[in-house]
Symmetry: D2
Subunit: 135 residues, 4 copies
Amino acid sequence: MPTMQTVRTMIGTHPAETGVDRALLARVVDLAVACSTACTVCADACLAEEQVADMRRCIRTDLDCADVCAATARVVARQTEYSADVTRAVVQACATACRTCAEECGSHTDEHCRVCAQACRDCLEACEELLAAIG
Amino acid sequence: MPTMQTVRTMIGTHPAETGVDRALLARVVDLAVACSTACTVCADACLAEEQVADMRRCIRTDLDCADVCAATARVVARQTEYSADVTRAVVQACATACRTCAEECGSHTDEHCRVCAQACRDCLEACEELLAAIG
Amino acid sequence: MPTMQTVRTMIGTHPAETGVDRALLARVVDLAVACSTACTVCADACLAEEQVADMRRCIRTDLDCADVCAATARVVARQTEYSADVTRAVVQACATACRTCAEECGSHTDEHCRVCAQACRDCLEACEELLAAIG
Amino acid sequence: MPTMQTVRTMIGTHPAETGVDRALLARVVDLAVACSTACTVCADACLAEEQVADMRRCIRTDLDCADVCAATARVVARQTEYSADVTRAVVQACATACRTCAEECGSHTDEHCRVCAQACRDCLEACEELLAAIG
């Protein structure tokens, strides 16, 4: 089975109910997990670049974004005893980390930065959609 | 050497500079790490309780708080190419997770919940102090 | 772009070289990330079940497997200054966590446990393939 | 209350029983959490060094060690439905990550590397003690 499809199925058949569209929750989880992994790879690829001294800010924003996206994916993946307050605060932090990282990675021409910036923008867009849904 | 003292030393001798008081950064890292661990133990202890069905909300808030505090500790521990925007957003999320978990754990009489609620309140207080310092 | 496909692209174009087949590394990362997320959702779904007291072992093995798979995905995703020793030890731990969780989830009939058990088996299989490749 | 002391208290009063000395479990959790945080700070301090190109291996081993120690602390902190197999495999991975990082950091003269190497050695020692106790 194609990996994250697994997760979409599970979120869709969860016994609890949050009042938030499950497809949207699954999309945020999926994109946050992908963004976290992309940022981990991008930080590591930046570290291998000859001009690593010029990649310090990119590595830093990648590492932050990886950590925040990973925590966000876990919080959003949980539907038992849902808290709109915690979800909103965490997804806002995730949006900020993704926006910052998308800007930084978007300013570099390396292939890994270009792909990572897109992963950040995709996650940011899903976060903003979820924030609008939570209100 | 007494464990987290290690970390305070390292944060204090870091080659980069954020403009934020290093002792305060170290205190947030220390308390976020302690809170994350306390929440992990509390969720696990709640799960072992005979009345586990009554502890669902507590386990959920513990797991969220553990994840958010862990990510926050990592972001705040980094001083290279510091971003006030990312730090503020993450520390705000941490404060919300800690406040929510302190309220939930504080409503239970189990020893692990009582100790965990205090760890959450301590971390929340440090987060609020850092937010005031960042502005 | 379909999420984790992003990551496969990035791992494939990384500037460093580990001597291990990149498609295999990408497969382990992909399946470990999917398994970690599946286990997070499964633990949360078990917690919402009416018979939560019977799901204690499943929740525990899910939480462990989620944490170990997340760390494994990060280690395997890094190709700069690759260490076969660290990779081998971490992937062995991941295989053990996945095997244990697949057995436990496989003994329950809930849909989320069934899907999670399959995610664990898929990740276990990829880990064993990587262990064979590392030697 | 002095932070990680919190956690030692909680592990000591946990309702479940693993058959392993609780003070030893608490010591591993404490040292793994401290090591994980030390490695996060060390990676970030290495990144700020003028000679960052010479610190690539150190940053990589720090990041791996931070991730593995964090996962290990969580697994060892759980006492409900304890699995000796999972604990052993994870603590073995942690010992390998700590040994590798202690060697790497120990070869640098920077203050952060020196302190980090000691945190790795302390965690390694506790892991080996726990492995001997589990058998």
